[in-house]
Symmetry: C2
Subunit: 241 residues, 2 copies
């Protein structure tokens, strides 16, 4: 049996009971080294297989091969495995194999939801997830989505907002958003959510310092009703108080 497990943002605290149970019971754990560290205390006696960054296809094949021998295997992602994680790829690789393997996707707390809880309640109305990584999606498609989301006043969660290889995508996305949203729109950022040096910050599109944003940051841009109260970012659901 192969389990594709989302570990949540980073602390055991935010893992689901099922994810904890699966990690405890499996014989083999496959994952990128950073994710292996997240479950280090639970690895006792297990076979652990790691590959470097961008080794996703290899990891998927390896995990499926081992599961095919009858062992219980967990392939792990941070956040939710089905959101920019390993679930899709593993299922795609599995669909090309001759042998059918039992697979269970174990859901996890994705970064936006973890960050939102620490920031307040920014996702109380309709929202989008957009990854600003153009490694696998053309930048033109991403820009079109950013524009559509801003025009319809969605709350917008930006994943992979900025990295050394893509220093300008966030700035470009914000400029597109500013064509439809006010520069006073509230922005929340969550960095290393549920990890040791977690940082939250609430600001506006105008005052956001993009150089503070990196790959482990999630950026949440409010809708026109989003406001700040007692240091919390709140998107009203629409109740009349």
């Amino acid at each position: 049996m192969l389990y594709i497990v989302g570990l949540g943002p980073g602390s055991k605290n935010l893992m689901t009971q099922e994810a904890l149970d699966v990690i405890k019971k499996v014989h083999t754990i496959v994952g990128y080294i950073t994710y292996i560290h997240l479950v280090e205390s639970m690895l006792n006696g297990k076979e652990v297989i790691t590959t470097g960054m961008r080794g996703e296809i290899k990891r998927s094949q390896k995990a499926l091969e081992i599961a095919a021998t009858g062992k219980d295997v967990a392939i792990i992602s941070s956040g939710d495995a089905g959101i920019y994680g390993m679930a899709g790829l593993v299922l795609e690789v599995a669909s090309k194999m001759d042998q059918q393997i039992d697979i269970r996707v174990v859901p996890g707390i994705t970064a936006s939801i973890g960050a939102a809880a620490s920031l307040g309640a920014p996702l109380m109305n309709d929202f989008c997830h957009i990854s600003l990584s153009d490694l696998m999606t053309p930048w033109e498609v991403i820009k079109k989505r950013v524009d559509a989301a801003a025009k319809a006043d969605f709350v917008i969660c930006l994943y992979n907002p900025r990295s050394k290889g893509r220093p300008n995508n966030l700035r470009e996305a914000l400029d597109i958003i500013l064509q439809s949203k006010s520069e006073n729109t509230i922005v929340g950022i969550g960095k290393d959510v549920a990890r040791k040096h977690e940082i939250e910050k609430i600001t506006t599109i105008r005052d956001l310092d993009v150089t503070e944003v990196n790959m482990t940051t999630i950026v949440i841009i409010g809708n026109k009703n989003t406001y700040v109260s007692n240091g919390r970012m709140i998107t009203p659901r629409g109740y009349t108080l």
Copy 2:
């Protein structure tokens, strides 16, 4: 201390460790009766305060009042409390009080993520959450968002897709989506995810029977690349296999 706790879709299995710990330790639990049932086995000796549906404002006030006396209180939602749940409302009510109360939002697995894991991996590329309930958001705004999301080829998760009071919103939304997406676009539905009579179904926009959809159903409409393999709904991330 007031904890706003998302219980996940319905089974203890998908609660986070923190949610379980909080429910165990608090003195008082406040919630709509259906949510109280979800944690029934953990209520031993606790004060339990329930109100009926649409009692959200009262519940928030009550929970805050009790927390103000120094007790540890949990106010519970299903799914994630910050997504169409109780978190925003509680923070809004709290911001109008004189006394400042310590509040912690405990994130949970929201319905779309729970359903996605059971369906396969439909959320591997950019997606939106849209609630089709027009109780608190004007229907014109919702329709605009549905249209924008479809035009930019987002995967679309529809919350509150259909109820007795709103039998036609889903049909209307699908008709808007069909202006931009093909009628062969894959649709996954998850009904009562992680509960006793859970049902998943994968179909297309054309073949979706809207009468099968109710308030405890989540509808996930794929993007143009979403496909079905081995009975799983997969939206490719973009890897070349």
